[in-house]
Assembly symmetry: D2
Homo-oligomer: 485 residues x 4
């Protein structure tokens, strides 16, 4: 691993030149710009853990390609143990950053493309798998951060790619050359894009034969010509941009995730970086496998966030003198219960993992979808309980400017003091943390990241093996089996 | 009514001089300062409706004190019809402002103090009722906005007022004079305070005999000497402060409520404005009646907000081409269902209203508490469903600066376009509206305004008449009644 | 009212001769047969309350047809006050019987047919309204119990009436004569049928022009030639049939509802008892109005049942020494909260009631559907909480035969004794009551009576006025209105 | 394993003579008595699977004591793999019997006592561990069914064992002899007791020093002198007792579990069968370990039941022609989602299992409690959805006597026919299956078996490591750690 530490990672980002806009202006250095630096620090934690004694075993793996030690975020899962370690790693990272640390999308893209490329080659006689292993070996050895890019704008949802008024609403090949192809379109909601080194582009849904130009997979550096990124707006970003230290909630890390749209304005991808090119029948597998891995992950990292929220309200209750209340304890119990239920889904879909033809391990698809579906419920309920226990003051607290004001600072301090032995600033800080972690963008991301709730339900129904379940019921009810059913 | 129109109201605020701080600086004119003007406009809607043809009947009433037409927000409810009209008025105001319009706290304070003052006089031979009627006649004739001020800082929640290390954690009388008394302390979370004319101070909980100095009710102008307000920070306030027009979600009204802490630094209140002075045994009634009225109101105004959210996601689904999906329709159905269930609680506690000794009508206490308890559940679930249906783009949308940028504006427009005949700006605006109405402060206010969830549960248990319910069960089970039980 | 008392009602049933089967045998006298007597007693309570001092005002009304005092269960609602009194009456009856008292279906059928008959006549020049008033006057004067018969078997749900392999899956006219028509088919789930005097037959859904033969309304005596009833099986019916006194849960009333299928095997209905005959376009109105009234009622009677359950678990907690536990109090609070929320829907749809063209009052359709939808959630949750608080013993209690056994009775008594001063028999009885009221049939009835949950959702969506809600959202977001939308 | 097959098991039960009462009379042969035979058949399935090819690997294990093949239900878990296989076995058994197969209580008792006996010996110098291994070797070699007996009557819940008016409300030693001790008391809700060979008696809760006489563990044959059992009453037991074949829901297996109270009327236990005798400090560990294992199991067997319910409603929807409805599919999806979420908890607590000092593996206590807590929610919701999808007919269906009646059988058949190609009997049978599996006893057992919901919440709070969670939150909020907290 060339990039070993947090500092290495920072330097590596300063060495590249992606085009990034934010609030109408260009961002020159993501490691210092107040809008992106907190996100960079969260991603840097993935490097920091790998170089720490305590978490080294979780955060790294031995590459099956080279036998060398690599970041787990660039590793192809070789067994159930890998899947479980990944889950534990993600929970720790969630606990330590309280936000998205952004490297899962690359990891999940790598694992999805790896196993499908193998199958495409076997069926179609292509050499995507060898190309991909070569590319991946570089990624592993350099320890690059990869943004897995899947979600297209989609335009009018009632129309397929080829029927859109604007054919660019899904990323597509606009020109084919002997040495590669040229693509156009955009990817939305790209977590960690602005501080990644590479983009791994994948289709957003199963494509049919008519949509062959949309059936593409390829990788390019984030600063390749023709790529423009626009970093999205978030709840609380203005506090962050002003480099506030208390009201921002989490002074070191992004209060919430950071996403960008990536526009591909006729970007050339050379052949050795192309891993699918028109084999439409395999697009479904890429999407489903990426989605399953990604959905499994949400149960781990979000549990980490929910752990933080549970701790935050417990501490706040102590600071306010209300920790002994039976309803306080009951709500904290419920927060723990929901967190651990969610975590259980993440563990279970790992344990029930199975090898693909390539040898790479897949999580159990059903349970991974169940896991993400639970995120869209339990994270909201935990946030609601946190808001309940926090009390109304997180919505009405005067700003940190008032706290420091000569005119009114003493009043803010006097009247927001709780129990005697906890400083008022600590109470305010924990309140701001809860505000940041329960509001707006943070929750939206939890709902839609890794696919909206309905996407999971479709998979859950499909994987439910209702034929078998009907047989069980009929056997118990004494109904004889009949052929035609 | 001297203040008749929205414009009159603006002028009246410019004529007074309250001391208001926000982000470390003083606000000189709340009607134009970007932090407060949206809230002023929401409150002004209460005046505007009263002067409109369509809503005149809902928004005004005939004073039982003077026989003159008054704003319903200064009216003492005389019958069930008054209570129901109020509910309908609040729902309309919620629909038209999408936020808190702030005049309920005064209304509910007036109704609570009115009926209790009558009872204090009967028991103690005081003349609070006459004083209060005189004060109220002025309020009605001038059509002033009153902030009902109840919530104290409370310091260490495990300690009573007199046991706090700092005795000022609850507002108290620090000096008694022949012509009045002097108070010290603060009230937190004061909705509409910065754009009110008067404060009606009430105790925050039932006080015992030891806490007589905390058993006080009085009224003073908002700009009385010794009063300092600090306007609280909110999610999205920076967008508002920069006078953005799209990203703020609601360009005309506050994206969320606006609250202030009010500090009373030895403020004198003359006798004719004192309505309780040490009669601790009546403090409970004031709190319970205020709370019941206020909790009933939440079922009405929040339903208005939920109506807006339901409309917003329906429109957005059209703009994205997904309106026909069965799961979309099902979730919209659920949003309506929860909204109307909530509204029903608000109506029901009004219909079951009963007269107090003074003749003023109280809502049914049980049902009013049930109503608010439902707010703390259904508003969150409706917001969650809105976030679900809105899609992830409300968390990752580029800013309006990017939308207008020469460099990237065309890309933002191209890739956020939905169906052909709805302008991309409209899709973005509705997305921002949903972002504003489902995030952070808006939801916290819904949870804690009018009392935190546990406060309602205590009342629901207390009012549940379990003795009668046990008798019903025993009769049906064939258990003979026994004396001692 | 000819039938004035409970005893009158019993005699009136003994004077008629309906054909009723149960468990393969005929029931000769429903007032004494153990399978039906408890249901008869529950229905008799509607007569008893009308003749009581305490409930006379709720249980009777003044007929707008004759000016005479009539049972409220035969009354056409003349105003909002009537609707509210009905709600209060149903809650009392639910509290006093703990089960279905069966007269609502007739009441709701009367109110639906009354108002639609008026409208049919105005449009089609028929005389159904006069016929119906004449029939209704008799019903009122005699104070007969009417079973409103709506639900058809429906066969294959994916096919319309005329496309069914068996055309009798919906009740239809098989022969038209100058003096009337002959019908064939069946009605299922007919509550109270076996102890009613009259049947009011209505269509089960909106019929189209092709299905004119299915567009019929008519009334006939329960013992008319060609009618056969089969009384359905219920959870716990065997205990009742063996006339057990403890294990049956409710010794006096049916542990759960009692329903029958009514088969019409070529039954003649004379013209004066025909109130719709082929005017298919009006079938929808009959169904929707009946359904709305009936759904409103469920919020009232089921609240009565939930009151009983709340009382039962409270008493049981006392009997077991666990009443002080904070989680016990919290769950009881939740039971009350859900009960009162449900009740509120029932009240609200009454208050928002509106007159039809005939002058008869309709509940608010939206809110009535919301009300029933809540039954299908809250009654289940209250039952679940009751089971939680009751403890496992309600599933494992030895039978009353063991309790009375010389061999083991002393052991049962010894080991099921709770606190010292409450007899063990009382603890067992209250346990059996909870068992009866939370299990099987009772809950199924709550789910499907007055229409399955999805039926309500369709109405809620349809009545949601989404166009208006979209306008509200667009106005707040600053989106200009455009014509074409 | 001496008892190898289902038939062996039947014979073995006929060879012993336990004292069993039911409905006031003695049961002589549990394998043929209609009240117990269905439960015997469900337990026999555990033997049948062990002797089947398909399930042999799941249903058996290699004894760590003898190296011989034993039933998994007598095995001490040696690793995580054992715990996971057990989970999979229980789900299969749930699917194949649709009810409780009763052998978990023995298994969990064995595992709890095994590991604690080891620890007692180490601390106290006793030889319980050797005694227990000897006893267990017999159980394994004979392949006996053991009822783990924990729950005491408890009398007045607000009083401890020694403070009860009747000291026998908890099982206790009433006489100590050189060769053993004599116990008195009772155990309630004993699943599978009447068809077990042995009882393993454990304390019901952590005992203190004052309650040393209640701190006992011992094993005795089910037909030991002084033991009397009373088999409990269940919903639907009368149908079963009459040997109905359709209405009983599940003709072969118990519609619901079968529990008995076991009375110990001065029963002697010899020393070699005593595994705890007054060492009160270890009682807590026995209870917690038994409870954790048992709670983990509930997530597995109940998932099996929920699979059956999901299949049943899917088949019924086909039989009624409603399977294509979007709301039907959505509800089925929800049933699967909840089932798999529950299953995930069961898997996760196994994977996170840890060895005790004895080497026996424990499930993760937190996750096992989370698992059971989910049973008390999800099984109810799945049952509610099943009732929703089944339709009202499961509450109003005529009996099988009517179905076979010459008088009305043809009518029942005609009017309960659904789609053309599914026999009406099949539709009725599946309806009865759903009725049996969603009503009464079945759900109560799910709520309270393995401990009532509040018992799990206490453990979840206790195991939540709130100190660590507070540290996480403080670190993120920028709050410095302070010593004293």
């Amino acid at each position: 691993m060339k990039i070993k530490t947090s500092a290495d990672y920072m330097s590596s980002l300063q060495a590249i030149n992606p085009v990034i806009y934010y609030k109408g202006e260009k961002i020159e250095d993501v490691t210092v710009h107040p809008a992106t630096a907190p996100h960079v620090r969260a991603a840097a934690m993935t490097y920091a853990l790998a170089s720490s004694d305590e978490y080294h075993d979780l955060a790294t793996a031995t590459s099956h390609l080279t036998g060398r030690k690599v970041s787990r975020f660039t590793h192809v899962h070789q067994n159930v143990g890998d899947l479980i370690k990944k889950v534990k790693l993600l929970r720790v990272l969630g606990q330590k950053t309280g936000t998205c640390f952004q490297r899962c999308v690359g990891l999940d893209g790598i694992n999805a493309v790896y196993s499908v490329a193998y199958e495409v080659d076997r069926k179609c006689g292509t050499d995507y798998f060898e190309r991909f292993k070569k590319w991946l070996t570089d990624i592993q050895d350099e320890n690059l951060m990869v943004v897995g890019a899947m979600t297209d704008p989609k335009g009018d949802r009632s129309k397929s790619p080829v029927d859109q008024p604007d054919p660019d609403q899904f990323v597509r090949v606009v020109e084919r050359r002997s040495d590669g192809f040229v693509i156009r379109g955009a990817k939305l909601h790209m977590t960690g894009a602005v501080n990644s080194h590479e983009i791994l582009i994948m289709p957003t849904m199963a494509m049919d034969e008519k949509s062959k130009d949309y059936a593409l997979v390829g990788a390019i550096p984030i600063d390749a010509p023709g790529i423009t990124m626009v970093f999205g707006r978030q709840a609380g970003d203005d506090r962050r941009d002003k480099q506030e230290t208390i009201d921002v909630g989490k002074p070191r890390f992004g209060a919430v995730g950071g996403e960008a749209m990536i526009v591909f304005d006729d970007v050339f991808i050379p052949n050795e970086r192309i891993f699918l090119n028109g084999e439409a029948e395999f697009t479904g597998s890429i999407v489903y496998r990426f989605a399953a891995h990604h959905r499994a992950n949400y149960g781990a990292c979000k549990t980490g966030l929910m752990d933080v929220l549970t701790g935050a309200v417990t501490y706040l209750a102590q600071a306010q003198g209300s920790a002994k209340g039976s309803h306080v304890r009951d709500k904290v119990t419920e927060m723990i219960h929901l967190s651990e239920t969610l975590y259980s889904s993440s563990i279970a879909c790992s344990v029930e993992g199975v090898p693909t033809e390539s040898g790479a391990y897949m999580v159990d698809t059903m349970l991974a979808n169940v896991c993400k579906q639970n995120v869209t419920r339990f994270h909201f309920e935990v946030a609601r309980l946190a808001v309940d226990l926090a009390g109304g003051f997180i919505a009405t607290l005067p700003s940190e400017y008032d706290l420091r004001s000569d005119d009114v600072g003493h009043l803010v301090k006097k009247y927001f003091t709780g129990v005697a032995d906890i400083p008022v600033e600590d109470r305010i800080k924990i309140g701001r943390l809860i505000e940041a972690m329960t509001g707006g963008t943070a929750m939206v991301e939890s709902m839609h990241g890794a696919g909206s709730p309905q996407a999971q339900r479709i998979m859950i129904f499909r994987e439910g093996d209702l034929a078998k379940k009907m047989s069980l019921a009929k056997a118990l009810a004494g109904i004889p089996s009949r052929k035609k059913e």
